[in-house]
């Protein structure tokens, strides 16, 4: 068996984890701190990963990049762009500039998600520190790999509660040669009907959102494929910048101080909730600014076959993620204990006491 060695650079981090486990305190894992708003408010000692940075390996023809957790997302994206590649799930980058580790831990994906996949679909492997301070490598640097459980995908969206991400290998994609934005003056119900029809056809769609007034569609691919798509779809051509503003939450809508995210089947109707909506992901990710009580919002999302998350604006002690049914919550507790037996990592960030 290969032995797990802890390098000199990792050892100080591992020592902090062991100390926290021994003395039963929680560690708050932090990269660039650009997503501090996300999740429940927590206490704990900061474990800083921001200096654990740098791209380790990038072979464009292998379609894989491996970077340390603290590597700025911006740096990775610039390197990929220089080789005509990209992260197809379009992770958002907020004020302060996020890191690769934070991107995986938060599990947020951008406008291309319904067409290309989410963070978890592109993570090929991770190296983590577990709750005992051991270095574990799950997955690897190749796309097809079914040896061992997919514990690496489990890290995507786990909010750091299962381990300290040290290195990440990501699958990358070629940047489309052509891209174009179209819009229609549809109200949402009409836009949803149009999307229902378009999404069933083999079109080069790479984005579909409704800003409250208009439906915006993005097409990506070869010049010929995009031109063909435009001929099939119609609509008014508009600026592409709107997609970056959507991706990085720079549209004025996202400035609201309390914002809900409903993740639901794109084709569903969500029950009557007062407030203003922005529909992304062809209706599968609905942003809502509302004064409706949390229970009503969560119930409406569940009724529609999805779930609601208080994306930002939670007060101390307020739940952010949808509560899980108790047998599923028990299973989550056991999975957490398997990798973090002393409950060291980001205690309470996902769920209370967890």
């Amino acid at each position: 068996m290969p032995t797990s060695t802890v390098s000199d650079e990792v050892e100080p981090l591992a020592a902090e984890v062991r100390e926290a486990a021994r003395r039963h305190y929680s560690l708050k894992i932090r990269g660039a701190n650009s997503k501090a708003f996300l999740g429940r408010r927590t206490m704990g000692r900061v474990l800083d990963l921001s200096t654990f940075a740098g791209v380790i390996d990038y072979q464009p023809t292998e379609l894989v990049i491996t970077a340390r957790a603290g590597t700025p997302l911006r740096e990775v994206e610039a390197l990929l762009a220089a080789h005509g590649q990209m992260l197809a799930f379009e992770p958002p980058d907020f004020v302060g500039g996020g890191t690769v580790g934070g991107m995986v831990a938060a599990g947020l994906s951008g406008p291309r998600r319904p067409f290309a996949g989410a963070v978890r679909d592109f993570v090929l492997g991770v190296t983590v520190l577990d709750g005992r301070g051991q270095v574990l490598r799950f997955g690897g640097q190749v796309f097809k790999n079914v040896a061992g459980f997919d514990a690496f995908r489990l890290m995507a969206g786990a909010m750091g509660s299962l381990g300290v991400i040290l290195n990440v290998s990501l699958r990358v994609a070629p940047r489309p040669r052509a891209e174009l934005s179209l819009s229609f003056a549809d109200k949402w119900p009409a836009a949803q009907a149009r999307l229902g029809e378009l999404m069933r056809r083999p079109l080069p769609l790479s984005g579909a959102f409704h800003d409250g007034k208009r439906l915006h569609l993005r097409l990506s691919g070869t010049e010929r494929a995009v031109a063909h798509g435009v001929a099939e779809i119609g609509g008014d051509e508009g600026p592409l910048e709107i997609w970056d503003d959507l991706r990085h939450h720079r549209l004025p809508f996202f400035a609201a101080n309390r914002l809900w995210r409903l993740s639901v089947p794109g084709t569903c109707q969500v029950g009557d909730l007062p407030g203003t909506w922005l529909m992304d992901w062809a209706g599968a990710q609905r942003w809502l600014v509302t004064r409706a009580p949390p229970q009503a919002i969560r119930a409406a999302a569940r009724e529609a076959g999805g779930h609601a998350m208080l994306y930002h604006g939670a007060v101390d002690g307020e739940d952010v993620f949808d509560p899980l049914p108790s047998p599923l919550m028990d299973l989550h507790r056991r999975v957490k204990r398997a990798l973090d037996p002393a409950g060291v990592f980001n205690r309470g960030r996902m769920y209370e006491g967890f």
């Binding site: 068996m1 290969p2 797990s4 072979q59 023809t61 292998e62 379609l63 894989v64 491996t66 978890r120 679909d121 190296t127 270095v135 574990l136 490598r137 690897g140 640097q141 190749v142 796309f143 097809k144 790999n145 079914v146 040896a147 061992g148 459980f149 997919d150 514990a151 489990l154 995507a156 969206g157 786990a158 290195n167 070629p174 229902g196 999404m199 069933r200 083999p202 080069p204 691919g221 010929r224 494929a225 063909h228 993740s263 089947p265 084709t267 599968a284 076959g305 999805g306 779930h307 998350m309 949808d322 509560p323 899980l324 047998p327 299973l331 989550h332 056991r334 999975v335 398997a338 990798l339």
Partner: protein
Amino acid sequence: MLSEFDPRLDYRFPDYDLDTLIARLRPVLPADGLLSAPEALRVYECDGLAAYRSLPGLVALPRTTEEVRGVLMACRDMRVPVVARGAGTGLSGGALPFPGCVLLSLSRFDKILAVDAEARVARVQPGVRNLALSETAKPFGLFYAPDPSSQAACSIGGNVAENAGGVHCLKYGLTVNNIAALEIVTLDGEVLRLGGEALDAPGFDLLALMTGSEGLLAVVTAVTVRLLPMPVHARALLAAFGQARHAGEAVAAIIAAGVIPAGLEMMDQLAIIAAERFCNAGYPTNAKAILLVELDGEEEDVAIELERVAGICRAAGATEVRLARDEAERLRFWAGRKAAFPAMGRMAPDYYCIDGTIPRARLADVLDEIARLSAQHRLPVANVFHAGDGNLHPLILYDARRKGQLDRAEALGGAILELCVEVGGTITGEHGVGREKINQMCVQFSEAELKAFAALKAAFDPIGLLNPGKAVPTLARCAEFGAMHVHGGALPFAHLDRL
């Protein structure tokens, strides 16, 4: 032989009284849902890896989630191991019965429960065949993307257990990228729903953890799959090369040009000759390697891009490039590739299919090393390769009736898998670890990593009754295997930087 479970190195369970278990299961299952006659059990003694055989104690054939739950509760109470089985087409012995176990066959869960064409999802029972999904979706202009070569026979439940791939996964992804939700039953008798029709679910991504877990965590009783719009047009080309290295360079150049083909396959000369003898696909048998490249999409776009790919292949040194002139020729190109496995049956009485993944850049080196290992073990090896995603299938030709050949084939297969790890790849790309590669897990993972896998299993199955002796080796097994594998006092590959 690995088919013999070793109580010291695998697991040991207390003896149980078969009649008591039968009495407990009778009321749980339909009258024809419990098999115990030796000749009936014989049908279930192996899966697609037929060299490994072992008999279950009983076979249970439930039809409903409630019946599955009943079987699991009885087995939990009596501490009887349970091995779930789909269509039994797996190639790694994942459904090989643990001796005396209850073999839980999901073959009667064969209903398509709902197809929602607008939402592009289908909810099905796990025994539904992979190909039946695409056939059902076709009238709606949709398809289910993962297409393992056994797709006419294999079941979606087995696909989930193995995280099955296929020839189109470079562009369309694996099973994990194409399913939305699972209903599972745990050994505690809890029925849980993981995922959903939304694009994500609250909590941990247990849907991803379940996918590829080889029956070790829970039993899947329903699967919601995502369906994709069928591409309007597909075209293929065949490129022949005088050197395998040039074919590898062509693959890298295609990817570097930003093209993601729907299929990108390579075959070496022995595989070409075997396929040509078997089905006259028109392959150039004097070529050292051929590439098959398929592009799909809008018609004119595909034509332009295929010309680009043809140019790239020529620039990389292709001796011949053929664009399929029509659909019949495209299908003929693929017929040879799809027949590669059965074609081996004409070359030798038996063949053993290996499944590793390597970084593509190492292909030529790996092929050279496989040729060296092949000579060393005195058994021929043909190579077919999902070149787009680095998934290599060396096919070892042997004759099980000749003394020592099966052992040599097993040893050669093990050496090839260890080579895959050495160059930065993995011991299994799509067939799963199962029983077959249980020892090589000790090469790829450290003690701490294997303990973490065991802890994750225990989170679902604390007493370890689900598919014991598969996928995750015990540390005792690794210690024994490692002891056999010490080269000159050093552990294998101890020098490797484990990124």
